[in-house]
Amino acid sequence: MTMKHYWWKILALLLLLYGIIAGLLGPVPALPIVHETIRNVYFHVPMWFTMFTLYLISVIYSIKYLSSNNPHHDLVAVESVNVGVIFCTFGLLTGMAWANFTWGAPWPNDPKLNGSAIATLMYLAYLVLRNALEEEQKRAKISAIYNVFAFPIMIVLMYILPKTTDSLHPGAGGNSGFGQFDLDGSMKAVLYPTAIGWILTGIWLMTLRFRIRKLEYQNHTVSE
């Protein structure tokens, strides 16, 4: 394996390292209520970016599976969901820790919180559906169909509905986003590279799991 193949994994690690150091030590605007917890934006927000990227990869590979019937596409789709659910869990946990400090409770009644919890239920239902189906091809096909069906609903739940009502989250329901406090762009200079680092890490995890699954699949088909 040459440098060409794994440069992005080194990049991911460097970006994460940069994100953690600059995120904890870099300058942040002094704001009431949030104070230093604003640094959580560097950890909380990238989780959701990564989750969304992985769900997007999953739906793309589900569509590819439907037209190709290649079992590897189905494995990419399911492992993307598996890793996406993990990032969603971390997104919820970092968010709950943050909410506990700034909003006074780990689970306030916020449309974005509820939306992401329900979207998670939907992706867990996708995994349950896979367990309910024995035959491999049928499982791949039917779960791909459900995945494509669920994806737009996830977008409505997490990104459209919270915008139409009052939300505690910045940038929704008349709240201002953090962008307006970040006058010199120093926060963006940390947030975006960190987000790319986490997205690459998520994809890396997914490819690792995919490769394990692929080996299992090959062993399974050879031994038969």
Binding site: L129, V148, V156
Partner: protein, 219 residues
């Protein structure tokens, strides 16, 4: 045979089959009325917010039960026959169409029974009825495809609930918001965003169902 003609005759077939046995229809109607009555026995009287939410929860469970059956009644041999005479688009459209009819009937009965037993604390009855009609259509559009998926996966009703509840929640939230506006008797212009999102969800669901069903229908 053109698509519309196929859809028309398939819906007609479903109605005739149902009319002969009347099993599903009577079952659903009895289910709705008894649920309303159980709720009345439990609650006696409810405040307006609960009144609204309770109605939609009854509708949710009744519609899952009603639409769950839409692919079950088709036997394997009959399915095979359909494949030879109609396209997948015609089949899914006819199922959605038939379920819309069933849901309209169901919600009419449910609303009447509910209104008679619990009363109607509604400011703008026209808008509320519009919300009920839109709700019936949207439930039918979403649940038909999910019941098709659940039918392929051994068809147990647990799976149907697990698969469909998270998907229906955004719709339910918007419907409850819209019907709450109607209860308060707010101006229709306040509810335009809700109506728009409802229409958008319906268009998206039907489009996706149409493009995915061809992959689902044949084993």
């Amino acid at each position: 045979m053109s698509l519309l003609k196929e859809v028309g005759s398939l819906i007609q077939k479903d109605i005739i089959l149902e009319w002969r046995s009347k099993y599903a229809l009577n079952g659903i109607l009895l289910y709705v009325v008894s649920t309303v009555f159980v709720c009345y026995q439990a609650f006696k009287s409810v405040d307006p917010t609960t009144w609204n939410v309770l109605f939609w929860i009854i509708m949710l469970f009744a519609s899952v039960n009603a639409i769950n059956k839409s692919f079950v009644q088709e036997s394997q041999h009959r399915q095979l026959y359909y494949y030879t005479i109609a396209g997948p688009k015609a089949i899914i459209l006819s199922k959605i169409g038939y379920n819309v009819l069933i849901m309209l009937l169901l919600s009419a009965i449910a609303f009447t029974a509910y209104a008679v037993i619990f009363g109607t604390p509604v400011g703008d009855l026209t808008l509320y009825l519009l919300a009920v009609v839109l709700g019936a259509v949207s439930f039918a559009a979403v649940f038909t495809m999910v019941s098709g998926i659940a039918a392929k996966a051994g068809n147990n009703s647990t799976l149907m609930a697990v698969l469909s509840f998270p998907i229906i929640i955004p719709l339910l939230i918007i419907l409850i918001r819209l019907s709450k506006n109607a209860m308060l008797g707010l101006d229709w212009s306040v509810s335009y965003p809700e109506l728009l999102v409802l229409a958008a969800i319906n268009v998206i669901t039907v489009t996706i169902s149409l493009s995915l069903f061809p992959y689902l229908w044949r084993d």
